[in-house]
């Protein structure tokens, strides 16, 4: 009896400690979860509800069934918006990754003034995108400094044939600083002995980079690809500012987030049902893209 009692005593205390620990754990999780619920889960659920209604400025004007979804899916402007954002993302992500990695390699090298370069490269990432876009519009307009210096005759951000690429360039530049930081952290976590081994074999710098550094950065590649890929799909402010909110000229700056915004607000339209449906559809698209990334690049990264 006594033996049983003596062993059960610590077990129950262990359980009590565990329970108490779990309690504290949940208590700590509760606050962020409440914030998450209030500002994400609840609005998302409410958006789903709105998407099935004819929802005007002052609220529901009756149930809409699937008609909002059907309208978005059959809208040629939404198709153009999807095509535009695909082009933009395919253009910007590799460019910003290449730029970010190059900058990381520069500041990781043994050079003087490293700290200065690191801050200088990071600076565009912390500046306001609205301010940067507005200034870029001036620099690259028809009579802007850029054309003046290089002798071009083109309004880069408002010409349907160049505006997407102008924004690709602008955003590759502004985001490269943040990407540089991720790559820098990853570069510094690569053990030095692999480089020492390469040096013993007289491997060239170029070969070392492609055979050692680049493959060992795979987790960073995956992270940057997912985070900045999704970020690129959420493009809005630059297109909004460059097109004056119209998505033009010739729909060239239309993108899904601008589509959602315009359905809800443009010209005081207040078509919130349509905007919510477009939001749900676009969420599913981004979700699918992330899953595909996870299954392709992510799986290789895990092995």
């Amino acid at each position: 009896m006594s033996a049983v009692a003596s062993t059960s005593q610590p077990r129950s205390t262990m359980l009590g400690v565990r329970l108490r620990e779990a309690g504290w754990g949940y208590a700590f999780v509760l606050v962020p979860m409440a914030v998450f619920g209030l500002f994400f889960i609840y609005p998302f659920a409410y958006m789903l509800y709105i998407s099935f209604h004819n929802w005007g400025i002052l609220g529901s004007q009756g149930s809409a069934g699937w008609s909002n979804y059907s309208q978005v899916i059959h809208d040629p402007i939404f198709h153009t918006a999807l095509k535009n954002i695909a082009e933009y993302t395919i253009g910007v992500v590799p460019l910003e990754m290449a730029l970010g990695l190059s900058l990381a390699l520069i500041v990781n090298a043994k050079i003087h003034g490293k700290k200065f370069f690191r801050s200088a490269f990071y600076f565009p990432s912390i500046a306001s995108s609205v301010a940067i876009t507005t200034i870029a519009l001036y620099l690259f307009n028809y009579n802007g400094l850029f054309n003046h210096v290089f002798g071009f005759h083109r309004a880069w951000f408002t010409d349907a044939s160049t505006d997407t690429w102008a924004i690709v360039g602008l955003n590759a530049w502004t985001t490269s600083g943040t990407i540089m930081l991720w790559y820098l952290a990853a570069l510094q976590s690569i053990p030095t002995d692999v480089y020492e081994a390469a040096a013993l074999d007289n491997t060239s710098t170029w070969r070392t980079f492609w055979k050692i550094t680049f493959p060992l950065l795979r987790p960073a590649h995956f992270f940057v690809l997912v985070v900045f890929g999704v970020g690129a799909l959420k493009l809005f402010d630059q297109s909004y500012i460059a097109s004056g909110g119209t998505g033009g000229p010739n729909y060239s700056l239309y993108n899904p987030v601008l589509y959602i915004f315009r359905a809800a607000f443009a010209g005081g339209a207040g078509n919130f049902g349509l905007a919510a449906a477009a939001g749900v559809i676009y969420f599913l698209i981004i979700f699918a893209v992330t899953i595909v990334q996870r299954l392709t690049v992510g799986r290789r990264e895990a092995t």
């Binding site: 349907a160 119209t246 315009r262 010209g267 005081g268």
Partner: protein
């Protein structure tokens, strides 16, 4: 030790006295605060409106009106405020967004107020009042209006010894001679926006309308408009280093622009050295123009409707509008208020002016303008643009 305490007590007594006196004062004449919101068309206009409101406040002891400018995207900001049930009491409504907001039920119908206060609406130009009326329900009174006119740089006109064009052919001929004689060395003779708010007058001039926008007459109008650009006689403002055609005229990268009354204060404040003549729009089969008008309307969710009505009806009354017209920033919407001098070209448009706005406005207008820029760059045909427009108008 005692002295500071005494001083403190005395101070407290004074403060208490002043506070009771002040609150007694407000009790005597209860002042209702009314908010008025609109966009800003420039410092001149803001200043004038504040003067008008100061006059209102001076003559209405029980109401205090304050004007707040909503910067940026006005319709968006207002939509958010309507949705939050926190709109300003009185606000601007552009004729193009009026049908949408009226249908959404955020604008207060004014009929009962009109009847109760025996407000005379007969002085408003009917075509302008119609922009804010659905059936017999009145949703606002036009505060002013402007059609488009044709502005031509005096220097360029003198260089080619030209005279005022009145038809499409004459307009094209004038632009042609400006081009060949290098009258606009840094740009093109005409500035044309990829904007249906500038293109539609040409449709009306050719006898077409939005109801038959795919007709041969409308197609011919579109071909003429875009043709001027394709022939090198005109260009869009972005390619002339300008945000809009008024700026192109000011920068002298274009000699001919089609803009409204709003161009005049802009030019005199920003480009006072550029002299230009103001002429009525060209005609073709008939005259054709657009009338841009804005109303003062009341919010359905306003908490001070009686005071809001007092402000709204005073602003649009003969007294209010006469003050508003004193600087010539816009044209009067009332027949009993005179425009300042030099506005004949605008006033001549009155019989031909169609109200700016159409069904399914925000979607249709976006499609129309995006298509227009596609036609200009050659990636869409005129026929495709007009067909898209007809579809969009059907909603």
């Amino acid at each position: 030790m005692r002295k500071p305490l005494l001083v403190l007590l005395a101070l407290a007594a004074v403060v208490a006295l002043v506070a009771t006196a002040a609150s007694a004062g407000t009790h005597k004449a209860k002042v209702t605060n009314v908010t008025l919101a609109g966009w800003s068309s420039g410092p001149d206009e803001d200043q004038l409106l504040n003067q008008v409101i100061a006059k209102f406040n001076a003559t209405h002891k029980t109401i205090h009106a304050t004007f707040s400018v909503i910067n940026g995207d006005y319709a968006t900001a207002m939509t958010a405020r309507f949705a939050a049930h926190n709109p300003p009491d009185v606000f601007y409504v552009d004729s193009s967004v009026a049908p949408g907001w009226e249908a959404q039920g955020v604008v207060q119908p004014l009929n009962s107020y009109i009847t109760k206060s025996k407000y005379d609406t007969s002085k408003f130009y009917p075509s302008l009042l119609r922009a804010f009326t659905v059936g017999k329900t009145v949703y606002g009174f036009p505060k002013d209006w402007s059609p488009l006119a044709m502005e031509i740089s005096n220097a360029a006109m003198a260089k080619v010894h030209g005279k005022r064009p009145t038809t499409w052919a004459q307009l094209q001929a004038l632009a042609q001679s400006m081009a060949t004689q290098g009258a606009v060395p840094n740009g093109r003779p005409i500035c044309l926006s990829a904007d249906w708010a500038r293109f539609l007058p040409f449709v009306f001039q050719n006898g077409a309308s939005l109801g038959n926008i795919t007709s041969p007459a409308a197609t011919a109008a579109a071909n003429f408009y875009v043709g001027l650009i394709q022939k090198g006689l005109a260009q869009t403002p972005d390619k002339l280093g300008a945000g809009w055609c008024g700026e192109a005229l000011g920068k002298q990268t274009a000699a001919i622009a089609f803009e409204g009354n709003w161009l005049l204060p802009y030019m005199s404040s920003t480009y006072p050295q550029v002299k230009f003549g103001i002429y009525p729009m060209v005609k073709q089969k008939t005259g054709g123009n657009l009338g841009f008008t804005v109303s003062y309307s009341m919010a359905k969710d306003s908490k001070n409707k009686a005071a809001a009505w007092t402000l709204l009806s005073w602003l649009t009354s003969k007294t209010g509008q006469t003050l508003w017209m004193s600087k010539g920033l816009a044209l009067p919407s009332r027949s009993d208020v005179k425009a300042v001098g030099g506005r004949q070209a605008f006033l001549a448009a009155a019989p031909y002016a169609h109200g700016w706005g159409f069904p399914n406005f925000s979607t249709a207008y976006t499609i129309m303008n995006n298509d227009m820029s596609a036609v200009i760059t050659g990636s869409k045909t005129v026929e495709q643009m007009l067909a898209d427009a007809a579809n969009a108008l059907r909603g």
